[in-house]
Amino acid sequence: MRLSYYPGCSLHATAKEYGLSTRAVCEALGIELVEIPDWCCCGASSAHSFNRTLSVALPARNIAAAQAEGLDIVLPCAACFGNMRKADATFREDEKLRGEIEEMLSFQYSGKLQILHLLDVICNRVGLETVRQRVVKELTGMRVAPYYGCLLVRPPEVCGFDDTENPTTLDNLIEAVGAQPVKWSYKTECCGASLALIQPEIVEKLVGEITEMALEAGASCIATACPLCSTNLETRQSVGLPIFFFTELMGLAFDLEGCEKWLKMHLVKTEPALETLQGGPSECDTMPDNKK
Amino acid sequence: MKKIGVFLCWCGSNIAGTVDVDKVVEEVSTLDGVAHSQSYRYLCSDPGQAIVETAVKEKDLDGVVIAACSPSMHETTFRKTVARAGMNPYRCEIANVREQCSWVHRDAKDVATDKAIKIIESVVEKVKLDEELYPNHSALIKRALVLGGGISGLKAASDIADSGYDVVLVEREPSLGGRVIQLSRTFPDLDAARDIVLPLMKEVAEHPRIKLLTYSELEEVTGHVGQFNVKVRKKASYVDHDKCTACGLCIKECPVEIPSQFDLGLGKRKAIDVPFSDAVPHKPVIDAEACIVFKEGKCEACRNVCEPQAIDFDQKEAIVEEEVGAVVVATGYSLHPKEKVAEYGCGKYPDVLSGLEFERLNSPTGPTGGEIRRSSDGKVPKELVFIQCVGSRDQEKGVPYCSRICCMYTAKQAKLFKQKVPDGQAYVFYMDVRSGGKGYEEFVQRCQEEDRTLYLRGRVSRLFQDNGKVVVWGVDTLIGKKIEIAADMVVLATAVVPRSDSKELAKKLRIATDEYGFFSEAHIKLRPVESQTAGMFLAGCAHCPKDITDSVSQAGCAASKVKALFAADELVSDPMVAYVDEDTCVGCEICIVACPYEARILHERKKVAAVEEALCQGCGGCVAACPSGASQMRNLTTDQVLAMIDAIV
């Protein structure tokens, strides 16, 4: 399978482990990622808080660049995914705006490219059966709280690949890699997103509640599919609950090379969650993080 | 020698689990008068009943005691059973050994068993003295009286008449139509109100089975269900309606103009006039208080132009007597007067109207021909404020209940206003929007969305006149801030209240009212169209505030009840009523005063008390009141009760 790839700005920096684990897992599953040439930032939450045309034009520029390759686009970041889907939908609904942006960017919108989140691609296009077959070391004993956050599931007309109030894609994936997804009620509660840099106490409160509820549900860690959620959950919590990207869990289960590298990048020690893993130590067990 | 059969029910384990049924059956079989004693697991079942039936037939029993659950459960069932076997059902009695024995003595089985025996013994003694009773048959006059010619009364009368029964319809106003004919358009379809009620009015007026008495009031009702004697007072209209051709010349010639009651004082009428242009019957009536002929002895302009010589200033009131078997009370409602609402102008501001007054303004037959204009200066209002809950939900200064129709008609009125004044702005002050009927919520949403009517949540504190505008002080709780509107017109949705004379009417009819004056139903869920008095049925807003849909439904239901009553050939009533031992009665008349159903009279010739059996409800009040013991209940005489006590003690 070949897909155009839009990593998003944070995958090179604050969510570097997500970028690395995504590439490794996709390779393992036979997905060839063709990075969109010269892609630009999609505007995240700032563009839509500033100007509507800009918030559609920035993702449109990336869609335009991907049209040349003609492949469906896969995005690991939930926010970028939401933005691009929204822009795509706007192109279909608002003829006037589409005309203006096509003019500004000198392209013709083809409307043929599907815009997909990585979780959707892995679980629905590749399929959980394939994932299960690739698992070498089942993550038995790991109790993972699947955290979807906002933009993977809302608004339903934009995202469209899972139930809005009780999604199960990530739950099923966690099960497929042998871990146990816990049932908890904060699956889709907001982490506060970019408010971390605007009014951090809000994010502290929201993250505090999310981690508390995960612990109450008996989780030893949280799995996410969005770099901003992950950063917020790691940096604004106070209970030492490990946060993983779902691709990292897959990497551990597939026993991929380099997963120790990803785990070292976390700001919250990941060992406590991995201790519950049965089976002997492997190259994937982390060393204690003594760089505080 | 009485041959009484005793049948003890196990009721599964409800009785048998506590009471030693075998012992009871054995003990009871030895009682004097008992010819058969048996128990069975579920006596009320088909096989159980068959056992009773068979025993009655085979052993020729003339009395039966069913020792089982409470009589309120199965007394009727077992009486039917023994009747099928040919025994008089009133000699079948229930001995309650469940609710009054096994269920309350679960821990004391011996006590329960002994008590059960005692209970059965006492009932056996009662049955020994039971008379064979037969239901009362009395005459049933298959004619109905409908009070009120509004939509509820019209519907009830029409339904009853269509089923082949005669109807007398009494309406106090000169025309039929009630409140609906005063409206302009109705929710949720915005049909013209006259299109709804006028066909019904015409149908009733022309129906061969309906005797129409308009401009008449109920004077007196005596009698009981199946046979009411009714006196109706036909008011003097001073116009011979048989001669009148409705040419209208008299109205044209009349020099006197008075405020029109139909238009709620907003319009005028002549001293001789029809109440409105579509009146049915379309015959004029003279208002004696306004007519110069009566006041000063002059004029007679109308008589001079009347070709058929229909005007008769000497016409007198007449009393019409009718006999009917049932009465439908559909006398409608009144509105909380805006004059009573001091903070909203005390009724003194011409541009502050009630909801019904607004309807008159909006009607093509109204004082402005359907144009919405201010009463003060005739200008078209641009800023119109509607205030809901005026007097309703107000236990301090109004009525605590919700008047049910105001939220809907206010939304409708706002929409009708915008249809006529497209550049106007309507505001509605509300507490809630109650729109539960079919299509109602959607209608209210449309009113808000299509016309940009601004709904402001909050009660208006006061309004006052200022420079030709009416200033309204309210709050919008949705922003939590005070609001001030300089309105051109204000419409108050005043509370729906009973008519001022409803309690008086209730006394005449001998039906109950609630604390507000609305007539009371027999059971709010199961019997909403029957009053507590047999033969008196309720329909429409006389019962409680409701919209046209529910009024018509209720009227149809009341008509069905009347038809069901008339379906039999005679009126059959329960014989377990009071009776008088004439030898003992001294004619002190205490029982007559004590009876709440007015079922006791003094026999004219014998000067002793007598019971109107059709009215007696068997409450026993007279028995308790009677000092000489002459008043007794059939099959519950003092002797019987004493015999029961003796058996126990």
Binding site: S46, S49, F50, R52, T53, L54, P156, C190, L267 | I483
Partner: protein, 194 residues
């Protein structure tokens, strides 16, 4: 009709509602204040006005109060409100429209940092094409004079290799700047600097 807002008498003005509706594509007067939005909003307790109250104020034309509220800037765009609204109002979309309008009319908010953050972000984006977090943080710290918060966190992240010292400049930077300029030319887009 007038609203009395803290002693100030404000005549109502329905034109604000028309503008907001047109620009957002929503019908805010459909709101019947069930408060489902506020009840599920993660940040509602920090806002000065709940979303439905803000819409009501917009409906009545209380322009200054609406556009200076902290509500619009604290919205985290989680879309919980829009998803659950029984009248299908895209509350998040309306918040975006209100932010745009506040910036255009240069109305300062009670929430002082948000607008500054978004403008700094976009300035950074326009300069490099892909976000350079380090320089964004530096700019923000200077602008808000909030120099020392998150220092420790920043250091930890740097040590883990999560902070790129140098920006990744895209090749199409010039075209990107042209895009920004063109968008500004077509609409009333304010300056990105704050």
């Amino acid at each position: 009709m007038q609203v009395i807002w803290q002693g100030e008498t404000i005549p109502i003005d329905f034109s604000l509602q028309e503008v907001v509706n047109r620009r957002s594509g929503q019908q805010i007067q459909l709101c019947y204040h069930c408060h489902k939005c506020g009840a599920g909003c993660p940040v509602a307790s920090f806002m000065d006005y709940m979303p439905d109250r803000l819409f009501r104020m917009a409906q009545l034309g209380l322009r200054r109060q609406v556009l200076s509220s902290s509500t619009i800037w604290l919205c985290s765009a989680c879309h919980t409100c829009a998803t659950r609204c029984p009248n299908d109002i895209d509350v998040t979309g309306v918040m975006d429209t209100l932010k745009e309008m506040a910036l255009e009319e240069k109305i300062k908010s009670r929430q002082k940092v948000a607008a500054c953050f978004h403008k700094a972000f976009l300035a950074n984006l326009r300069r490099f094409g892909q976000l350079h977090e380090a320089s964004l943080m530096a700019v923000l710290k200077l602008k808000t004079l909030n120099l020392f918060s998150d220092m420790k966190l920043g250091m930890r992240m740097f040590v883990k290799g999560k902070i790129a010292l140098f920006p990744k400049r895209i090749k199409g930077r010039k075209e990107l700047r042209k895009l920004f300029k063109e968008i500004r030319r077509r609409g009333k887009v304010p300056e990105e600097s704050c």
